[in-house]
């Protein structure tokens, strides 16, 4: 719903339909990677593939950015991934940064917190940005890559009707405004959202938990002097027995979440004559606001049992869905494709065995489970399901006003942090005695300032041999993987993040910037074995 007069970005086609030569091919055209869905995850996947020189075609049944009030909060790790994909800074420049949060219970503020982000990172801990800007900047990046001849394409109003895995390729049938056409793909990446038609076409499961609750999500435009903070209310006077959230976005847009309960008439609640009085109660009578849009959601936490099915790989909401408390949906979807692109590239090049893809399943199912666990727990705290659970929840909130100790128990959403792939078959055992836990094998590298920039930017998207106070060759070739050495000075930040109690270290870093192995010093045999392991050859 939209009451604005001038056209907003979500009303104009971003990737209008254009006839593709593939629609006139005598025999079905074959593309290297076909991606279904031009949401945040499909677009990021396409950019990642194309950046590595792999042809990527994105099909979307729509031609605009996604509709409805959706993601607003993007965390550091996805911003770092976008940095690698060449559009992280656009997001940060437009986005709103915030550090302070306030928690209210009933009619009073119970406490205030500051995220106190660690210094020495290229990207902030969080930004708030409308999903439509997020998608627009990804599309801009695609356009810029096209101008330099990168093999990437978005086909708007291309609706996938049929998908069939043929063992060594996938057949697709696509509907367009000018009729249907067939297409073949070496690999198909399904990023077609929580309702994934691909999943349904393949008869695959999607099991989990539905939370019996409805949330009114309203984006309102107002000139108000609320500070740039996250305000969360438990049981406020203006929404008795329920919860509420107020969070700032760019352009004077504010996100408001109001819990409505289970037994409601969704169509009625969505009508402006019902929404506006509710918001007035919350914001006060004299605050002037306009509705940008309003949607009502029921949240679910569920995932597919396996994300890879032959030549079809699922990513993003198509593979797993979480409630939005903690901002884990798009954030974790970007980590899916970050994990997938380099693996598929090595498999397509013949450098790694196809079984490397099994590790995509293992690592990202682990990530999805972590997100589902966290977001289920937040939802259980925010919307207690029994009398006792409400009693304990209220006790935590009352105590949090008086004593610090109770504040860590307050759960209004645990904000998205990246997943460490503990126990992944690609990791070598941790051999760095005294090394920091946060950079153990499986962990995403922690950014650090270098004299002339930042660590993650230097790592890029290839395997790296990282040394700190240790000798090693400048380059090494292991079974077609070319490792370049990056030698770091043990500055304070580098030492704290990569040495800990050790005096020197050698790290093997994967193309997705996760640690594969680490030792106190360089040993060629150990390095070769770790590389083989990290590409699924062990």
């Amino acid at each position: 719903m939209n009451q604005m007069s001038d056209k907003k970005i979500f009303e104009v086609p971003l990737y209008a339909y254009q006839r593709s030569p593939d629609q006139d091919a005598a025999t079905p055209a074959r593309r290297k990677v076909v991606i279904i869905g031009a949401g945040p995850v499909g677009l990021a996947a396409a950019i990642d593939f194309a950046q590595q020189g792999i042809e990527a075609v994105v099909l979307d049944d729509n031609d605009k950015v996604s509709f409805g009030s959706r993601a607003i909060c993007f965390a550091k790790r996805p911003l770092e991934i976008l940095g690698r994909l060449g559009c992280g800074h656009e997001m940060v420049e437009k986005g709103v940064e915030w550090e302070v949060g306030k928690v209210f219970f009933d009619d009073r503020q119970v406490y205030e917190f500051n995220l106190l982000p660690e210094k020495g990172h290229e990207f902030p801990a969080f930004i708030n940005l409308q999903q439509y800007y997020f998608e627009e900047y990804l599309v801009n990046r695609v356009r810029a890559m096209q101008e330099t001849g990168a093999p990437i394409e978005i086909r708007g109003r291309n609706k996938v009707l049929r998908v069939a895995d043929k063992g060594d390729h996938v057949n697709l049938l696509i509907d367009t405004p000018e009729g249907e056409y067939p297409l073949e793909a070496d690999w198909l990446i399904a990023c077609d959202g929580a309702g994934s038609p691909t999943r349904a076409m393949m008869g695959l499961d999607f099991v989990g938990r539905v939370f019996e609750d409805n949330f009114l999500i309203a984006d309102v435009i107002m000139e108000a002097d609320f500070p740039t903070e996250r305000w969360f209310w438990f049981d406020p006077p203006f929404n008795k027995g329920q919860s509420a959230l107020l969070h700032k976005q760019p352009d004077g847009v504010w996100r408001i979440d109001l819990q409505l309960g289970w037994d409601i008439d969704k169509e009625e609640e969505k009508k402006p004559e019902n929404v506006i009085p509710r918001l007035k109660q919350m914001l006060g009578d004299d605050v002037k606001f306009e509705l940008e849009w309003v949607s009502i959601y029921t949240f679910q936490c569920r995932r597919m049992e396996k994300f890879r099915h032959g030549r079809v790989v699922f990513a993003g909401d198509a593979a797993h869905q979480v409630s939005p408390f903690g901002a884990r949906g798009a954030n974790s979807g970007l980590q899916d494709t970050d994990n997938l692109a380099w693996k598929l590239k090595l498999i397509m090049d013949g450098t790694a065995p196809e079984s490397l893809l099994d590790s995509y399943d293992i690592e990202r199912v682990h990530g999805a489970d972590e997100n589902i666990l966290n977001s289920s727990r937040s939802t259980d705290f925010i919307t207690p399901k029994s009398e006792m659970s409400r009693l304990l929840r209220d006790a935590v909130l009352d105590l949090s006003e008086a004593y610090d100790f109770a504040r860590p128990l307050v759960n209004s959403g645990r904000l998205s942090v990246p997943c460490t792939y503990d126990g992944s078959p690609l990791n070598a055992p941790d051999a760095l005695a005294g090394g920091p836990a946060r950079t153990r094998p499986g962990a995403p590298c922690v950014d650090a300032p270098l004299g002339d920039g930042f660590l993650l930017k230097k790592l890029g998207d290839r395997f790296t041999l990282l040394t700190i106070g240790a000798d090693a060759p400048e380059a090494l070739d292991v079974d077609g993987i070319a490792l370049d050495r990056l030698a770091l000075e043990p500055t304070e930040a580098v030492a704290a993040r990569y040495l800990g109690d050790a005096t020197s270290a050698v790290y093997l870093i994967r193309p997705d910037q996760h640690v594969a192995a680490r030792w106190p010093s360089y040993d060629e045999a150990a390095m070769r074995a770790a590389v083989a392991r990290a590409i699924g050859k062990e």
Binding site: L391, L392, A395, V396, L399, Y403, F405, A406
Partner: protein, 68 residues
């Protein structure tokens, strides 16, 4: 193995019990329930040790298999 103490450990047990009752005196059932919930959380934080807390939760549940 946890160190949960399940043998008498409160000096002046009667005094403590009387103080517990006194704290609840005059409260409605709802307020008493809330106080108990807060008390559990205060005590749990004081203990802190996750293994002891798990053992305490099990002990309080009075499940047959834990009694052995």
């Amino acid at each position: 193995m946890s160190d949960l103490i399940l043998t008498p450990n409160i000096p002046g047990a009667d005094d403590f019990y009387a103080e517990l009752l006194a704290t609840h005196e005059g409260l409605t059932k709802a307020d008493s329930d809330a106080l108990n919930a807060r008390l559990v959380l205060v005590l749990a934080n004081h203990i802190g040790d996750r293994a002891v807390l798990s053992a305490a939760l099990q002990a309080a549940a009075l499940r047959k298999e834990d009694a052995a």
